[in-house]
């Protein structure tokens, strides 16, 4: 059935779930949630929930899949069959293949792969509940899991999506806002190094709107970055009396 577009942002700038335009959903982060993985993380943005595990650096299953001067990064973004409204076929979709690629490419600039020649560093991300912004949540979890695994990194990668909904630019769009909105722009950065490591735009923006959207994303990225560092500090900070 053809669905009518609901009103998602009120005149006084309040969103359908009560958030302000520049407000993140309630965020939860935890590291070290799995026992077998070298590092792991759980990340929640509202009803979006993901788990990431890092294995390695290790010898890859196929020995030819190595490089003499650095580690290879292997990355899989995968959605659980029960993560969506309608059951998702567990076979990797074209969307998941593309997202695995952009997530790997977003991590490549920060992972110090040159320290581990002839090995692979594997990042596995499972989306267990999808309510919009899964690739950015996945990247946040992957970055935390790499840190938890003790893989040397130049910086953490923090990610958030900005959307255009009812003509307003909004931070951290959820599923409904994505479905009915005009644009969805996921951004990932290594904030301390001024590196944009992931940038996608699904939708149309004027150059002025884009600049505003990028600024809003930067604000969100810095908030997420702070939460990531707090999460790692809570786990690993040792106070000496």
């Amino acid at each position: 059935m053809k669905r009518e577009k609901p009103k998602l942002v009120s005149e006084d700038g309040v969103r359908h779930d009560g958030r302000r335009l520049d407000e993140l959903r309630p965020v939860k982060m935890e590291v070290g949630v799995l026992s077998n993985a070298s590092g792991s993380a759980y990340v929640e943005f509202g009803k979006t929930r993901v788990i990431a595990a890092v294995y390695g650096p290790r010898e890859p299953p196929q020995r030819y899949m190595v490089l003499p001067h650095r580690a290879v990064l292997r990355c899989r973004y995968h959605m659980a069959p029960f993560s969506t409204d309608e059951r998702k076929n567990p076979a990797p979709s074209r969307r998941e293949i593309e997202i695995s690629k952009v997530i790997r490419e977003a991590l490549e600039p920060v992972v110090m792969s040159e320290a581990f020649p002839r090995t692979s560093i594997d990042v596995f991300i499972e989306v267990i509940s999808a309510d919009g912004g899964t690739r950015t949540a996945a990247l946040n979890a992957a970055s935390l899991a790499l840190a938890d695994a003790g893989v040397p990194m130049r910086d953490l990668v923090a990610a958030v999506a900005v959307g255009k909904v009812d003509g307003y630019l909004v931070l951290d769009i959820d599923q409904v806002e994505d479905n009915y909105g005009e644009a969805d722009m996921p951004v990932a950065m290594a904030p301390s190094l001024n590196m944009v490591t992931l940038l996608q735009l699904n939708g149309v923006l004027s150059p002025q709107e884009f600049s505003q959207a990028l600024n809003l994303a930067l604000k969100g990225v810095n908030e997420v970055y702070k939460l990531q560092k707090e999460t790692l500090r809570n786990k690993y900070l040792v106070r000496v009396e």
């Binding site: 790997r104 490419e105 692979s120 490591t197 940038l199 939708g203």
Partner: protein, 301 residues
């Protein structure tokens, strides 16, 4: 699963890499272009006799063939009054020693999905004109991108070829009988495909600290990352994709987009010139290839 490329085809001798980046610093490129120049673009429309729309595009050494087929199908349940758009890309093994036969890899999937997003989000095709019996029958526009020769910047070549092919696509004649049976007559046409807005992509490569337009295959091996920018005819940004293992700074992103918008406008003007009037190009072309002095490349395509 996505893996850091390990194929020897992705490796370039250091000497060559250094030459390319030192040239770029001086503002020139190995093939004599300036940093902001596209290679020569050649567009041949109505290249294929059996497709409902087609174009062969040559962008330097890169050759991309796009065939559009219009077929009867069912609309999506959430858009019952609209036609359907499907974009696929094949990197056939004729195109490069790095391409293996088999299902599309992540690069082919990324290319098809980026072009799909630009077409869909910018509203290039007015899909509301493609419903036949609302909720039951609609036209499906199959866009198949065939990369024939890989000389770098496949995505912009594909976007140009896709737009040129769509501009020359015509909808077959059809009749709906009283009991809603649809008869399609592919020997004649009911009209052009409703292409209502035009958009292309412009790929900006980051080579050292410089930004270059339309990288060749050799430059792509040295480029640390690329920003693919969808450019609409009204100067809006119709999609973005950062691709490659590197990064861009915030300032580079803004600069790349400004550059892409400027180059995109030029590219759209060039396409408009090559594809002047779809009606005049080949009346009743089904079965009569209207190839002008061009032989198909030697492939099994």
């Amino acid at each position: 699963m996505s893996v850091t490329p390990t194929s020897p085809d992705s490796i370039i001798p250091r000497l060559k890499a250094e030459t390319l980046s030192s040239l770029t610093k001086k503002g020139v490129r190995a093939d004599g272009r300036g940093l902001e120049d596209f290679r020569e673009v050649k567009i041949i429309t109505n290249y294929l006799p059996k497709a409902d729309g087609s174009a062969l595009v040559k962008l330097g050494d890169t050759q991309v063939l796009v065939g559009v087929k219009i077929e009867l199908g069912s609309p999506y349940p959430d858009t019952p009054e609209e036609g359907v758009l499907v974009v696929s890309a094949e990197f056939v093994p004729t195109a490069s020693p790095a391409f293996e036969p088999g299902p599309p890899d992540e690069n082919a999937i990324e290319l098809a999905r980026v072009i799909d997003r630009v077409l869909r989000e910018y509203g290039v095709i007015d899909t509301s004109k493609l419903a036949i019996i609302p909720g039951r029958k609609a036209w499906v526009v199959w866009i198949d991108i065939y990369v024939l020769d890989h000389g770098g910047n496949l995505i912009d070549a594909s976007a140009i070829a896709t737009l040129a092919a769509l501009l020359t696509t015509r909808i077959p004649k059809y009749t709906v009988s009283e009991n809603e049976l649809i008869q399609v007559d592919k020997s004649s046409f009911s009209g052009p495909l409703p292409v209502v807005r035009k958009a292309v992509t412009v790929t900006i490569g980051k080579l050292g600290d410089s930004l270059i337009v339309d990288p060749t295959i050799e430059e792509e091996k040295v480029v640390s990352s690329k920003l693919i920018v969808g450019v609409g005819e009204d100067g809006s940004i119709a999609g973005l994709q950062k691709s490659g293992d590197g990064y861009l700074t915030l300032q580079e992103v803004e600069k790349a987009i400004q550059l892409a918008l400027k180059k995109g406008g030029e590219l759209l003007a060039k396409i408009a010139e090559s594809v002047k009037s779809p009606e005049a190009t080949s009346a009743g072309s089904a079965g009569t290839p209207s190839v002008e002095g061009e032989k198909p490349p030697e492939s099994n395509a």
